[in-house]
Symmetry: C2
């Protein structure tokens, strides 16, 4: 195998192949995807679905002169193989290796980076308009999954396309799935088009005709399919109403058909949309049978799709699972509790909640803004919505958190999974800003649990609190603390003193508490008595505890899995200053730069989020304390 | 006049009137709107357009049992008159008076507050789903302007409506305008429906038939109009594809027709959309002739629509105007400069830019997220986009600022008008969070000018800087500093020392610089030498200046027109702490609560954003300095 794929250094090499050779290479690509991602983990399903689409695009277009914009860009693995990164493919998502998404700094063929959905049409339109203004002739192609159309930005862009350019090619990669099964009216609309028997018939004919008559037929058949169906259900009418000429639906795995169609589309002097039907996970039976699981995952056995040797600690649950189980219990006891996800039932583990309370479970699509306002609307009628949205994705609903929830002081709970460094997914998925952007907003309470049991307590506390609450917790597993039978209500704004001490006081927020404990032990070895505090609340912070330790300690230290600018340590500084304490604060957190993908532990080492690094930062203050002590003696 | 209107204490009183009486009252309402808003300023045009719609809604529905959600809710003045706030109408937007938007704390009839566009459908759907879950029978009616459909949230909501409820009434209030003329494919789509001759004919017939046959006809005619037109241009197909049953278009000023239609719609067991055609400014000639001006404005002469006695300082330009004129100059000299607005050409003054560079001017609709990504796309192709977006509205594109612009380090400039307290419009429009939410984001430079000339310099500096920049400037006029012929480039991250001193150093950010100067003079009178610094940069802040003054001064003071939590003073605190300085900082800014509407000066007094209040906060530190001095002597 791998006769052709190994020869590909750049898209020019793709163009040298014949169509039968391309077809063979498609299989080679699939094999490399399945074997490679088995080791690295990653978005196997979506990439298996776009093998032919990507090949056809590189066969017909000419990057980097032409620009490809991939929505979310988790489906860019094949593109990476074809654009000079073939030999490094097995480093994908590995420390120092290729990023799992498009990255402008990685290759000139990655014209636009992404990791959040719904941005491709807007970015592509910006590029197309720039091209038009500069009098260029290059092409801009946006590849969007069907789920991108559950996101409002896609519609904001569509509203502008026809008025602003005559040349933009949109490819709708329709596999009826986002990460989970796609939801709502748009999904149903696409389904109606695809299952219409008239269109299906024409579509089969198209492939046959192509062999006989070549390129011109494609145009004819594609148009015919459209016209015939318009009277029935209006396929593409939605897009036509927005001024995009609709072509399709076409088989997204028929390479010759795709190539001919792209050749036709690139000659059009109007914005066009090609509706391609693809199969997520194509060519890998386990992925076809478990589309949800194989959207994006860790390493697996390439033959069975089962887990490889190692896996997570036996029997230990992730924070997401603890969240879901706790919410089931809260919902069992209170019929006003509802759960909302923006197309992430699997990632947030709300799919575990769903069977228990199907009528109180809402997946609203990749629509974070709507999710938050929808929650606010329910809250006005006495319901208690828990919105499970990753920290990085809640950024998309910041205004709605401010304008709809906090300004109206409505009791909506934001459960921010992936709060902190996300690791392998990289900077688009790190959740490093939520304390900064939320703590400036009046009325909200921001909590961070030290372990699984405290997450359950915080959710219960949020249930009881009559106002907006945000809870952030990290990706993956925690320390493994068992969750007690009945959750306890926490006092809002009160920290927990985990360990007493009088020289140094260390605040260890959430997942950083163990590091705070380690620092205390390091300090102890050097003769300093150190208190350790589990802050529990990033807002309101416990000013009494700050006053208590700030008065008698010679140094405060804060640990947070968050940027330093405006973060938790900054809130402690504000308190220290407002309380007129003169104690210095050593703040440990992420620096003012975007953090690359990698292993969390290694990145913490690299950027100094460790007890040892904190100790070094504390040295000057410790020395001063020491000399003051000596002076006193 | 005002025979009927004066009798209205609640919606029950509306229901007692006959239709001819209601028709007369509509004119009374118009007169009160024109005379009242002439004194207070406000959204006169939109409210004149919804007089009959609001009357019909209150005639047929029953708030607060039924819920009305108004998109943006600047068109709620008539609703306020009819729901117990008639006698206070002339206090609207006045200090201590009625808010200019719906406010849940103001009346039980205001079921949902808003000030930003596109939120009504999501909130209404939340309410409808809550009602369904509780087994209630009340109605939820969302009233949305046509421009709400340029915003993506409306589509995110529409994608969910049909799947989640069978009872929701959407009223599309179509006047072909948002604040400015509506833009894009959606606007064109609505225009096609309304100007279709078949529909127009049926629509005229509907009014006539109604008189003869009463209610049942409406249903028949409305449906007929729809069916007839479907074959032509598919009116409502867009909505039908989303699962909403479309009715219309109807004359939004025909009270009997509206009443019959609402009676019909409330009996439907499916989500419905009524397309009502209204005229913005109806009944007030100046408003009809100048729709843009009369969307929302200050006080005016109720007869001519011209300015009342007083106006802004003669010849003085607003910050918005200075921004637009500066951008024209930059664009004159650099053909890569482009201007982007999200439906606010008037508010941001970009309508002054447009005639100079029409091809480099983009109004993308109420689509802040798209605006930012579109800008990012253009920036990848070498363009230099200046996005003029109010501080409060940029909250809607926070994730795009992070994920698309800053993470890719693209040279997009955000010109944040209305940075700081906005005054009369109240909490939905105050721009008090931008420093907190932006300064945590790597790569961005955040500037705040002290005056008009410095705004021009900052825009020039932004043009030269190869990375993301945000500039915030306040509503209205500044100190009136003339703008020099050629702008100067500022050194990034370098503050300006305006006045030297050695006891106290005062940082006065942007519009707060005069207050910093006043404090310096108050301190001088008390025998303290005070330096005043114009920080220019909220990020990166000038650590050298902090070190310089922090070392030899006994106190630092920061003034900012921004919340204290995570704001500019907090950034100074971080610097003081990181530089291991022991100097205390008195931070002056807005407290951790939402600030009501009112006059800026009065609210600054009330919340302590004055030199006098700062002096009081500084007293303990000044006393300590004094006693240290005494000790030295």
């Amino acid at each position: 195998m791998s006769n052709f794929l190994d020869t590909i250094q750049s898209p020019a090499d793709v163009k040298r192949l014949t169509i039968p050779q391309l077809t063979q290479m498609a299989e080679e690509i699939r094999e490399r995807l399945i074997l490679g991602v088995a080791k690295t983990g990653g978005h196997i399903g979506p990439n298996l679905g776009v093998v032919e689409l990507t090949l056809a695009m590189h066969y017909v277009f000419d990057t980097p002169r032409d620009s490809f914009v991939f929505d979310v860009s988790h489906q860019a693995y094949v593109h990476k193989m074809l654009t000079g990164r073939n030999d490094r493919f097995e480093t994908i998502r590995q420390p120092g290796g290729l990023n799992g998404f498009m990255l402008r700094t990685e290759s000139e063929h990655d014209s636009y980076g992404a990791g959040h959905a719904g941005t491709a049409l807007s970015a592509a339109l910006g590029m197309a308009v720039a091209r038009d203004m500069s009098g260029g002739s290059e092409h801009v192609v946006a590849l969007c999954g069907d789920a991108a159309f559950t996101n409002g930005i896609s519609f904001e862009a569509m509203n502008n396309i026809a008025a602003q350019t005559k040349r933009l090619i949109v490819v709708l990669n329709d596999n009826a799935w986002s990460i989970d099964k796609n939801v709502g009216a748009i999904a149903e609309y696409f389904h109606k088009i695809v299952t219409n028997p008239t269109i299906a018939g024409l579509h089969d004919r198209a492939a046959g005709l192509l062999e006989r008559f070549g390129g011109k037929t494609v145009r004819h058949v594609a148009r015919k399919a459209e016209e015939a169906a318009k009277g029935l259900i209006g396929p593409g009418m939605l897009f036509e109403e927005f001024g995009l000429s609709y072509y399709g639906p076409l088989d997204g795995h028929n390479l010759p058909l795709l190539i001919e169609t792209f050749r036709f589309l690139k000659r059009q002097n109007k914005p066009v949309l090609l509706h391609a039907i693809t199969q997520k996970g194509r060519g890998f039976q386990p992925a076809l049978e478990h589309q949800k699981k194989f959207h994006g995952l860790g390493p697996y056995d390439p033959h069975t799709g089962g887990p490889p040797g190692e896996t997570k600690p036996a029997g230990q649950k992730t924070y997401s699972e603890i969240f879901a189980e706790s919410l089931v219990k809260l919902a069992d006891g209170n019929d006003k509790v509802v759960a909302i996800t923006a197309a992430m039932p699997n990632g947030t583990a709300l799919d575990l909640f769903r069977p228990h309370h199907p009528k109180r479970y809402f997946d609203v699509g990749i629509a974070e803004e709507h999710a938050v306002i929808f929650a606010a609307g329910m809250a006005t009628k006495g319901y208690k919505p828990f919105c499970a949205i990753y920290s990085t994705f809640l950024q998309r609903a910041f205004d709605q958190v401010v304008h709809d929830v906090c300004l109206q002081n409505l009791p909506v709970v934001f459960c921010m999974d992936r709060g902190g460094l996300s690791g392998d997914d990289g900077p688009t998925h790190h959740g490093l800003f939520d304390i900064s952007y939320l703590r400036s907003v009046p009325n909200i309470v921001h909590m961070v649990p030290k372990d699984e049991d405290e997450l359950a307590d915080m959710m219960y506390t949020a249930l009881l609190h009559d106002g907006p609450v945000a809870i952030r917790y990290p990706r993956g597993t925690g320390p493994g603390t068992p969750v007690k039978q009945r959750p306890a209500a926490l006092a809002i704004g009160v920290a927990e003193v985990v360990r007493d001490g009088h020289d140094v006081a260390i605040w260890g927020l959430g997942a950083m508490l163990p590091e705070a404990m380690r620092l205390a032990k390091l300090l102890e070895r050097e003769g300093f008595s150190a208190a350790v505090i589990n802050p529990r609340f990033a807002k309101p912070i416990d000013r009494e505890r700050v006053a208590e330790f700030g008065l008698h300690c010679g140094l405060l230290v804060t640990f947070e899995d968050h940027v330093l600018a405006g973060g938790f340590g900054s809130a402690v500084l504000e308190a220290v200053n407002d309380l007129e304490l003169a104690v210095p604060v050593v703040r440990v957190g992420w620096p003012d730069q975007f953090i690359e993908h990698g292993k969390v532990e290694a990145l913490r080492q690299k950027y100094g989020l460790t007890a040892e690094a904190a100790l070094e930062k504390a040295r000057p203050y410790l020395a001063a304390m020491e000399s003051r002590r000596m002076a006193v003696r």
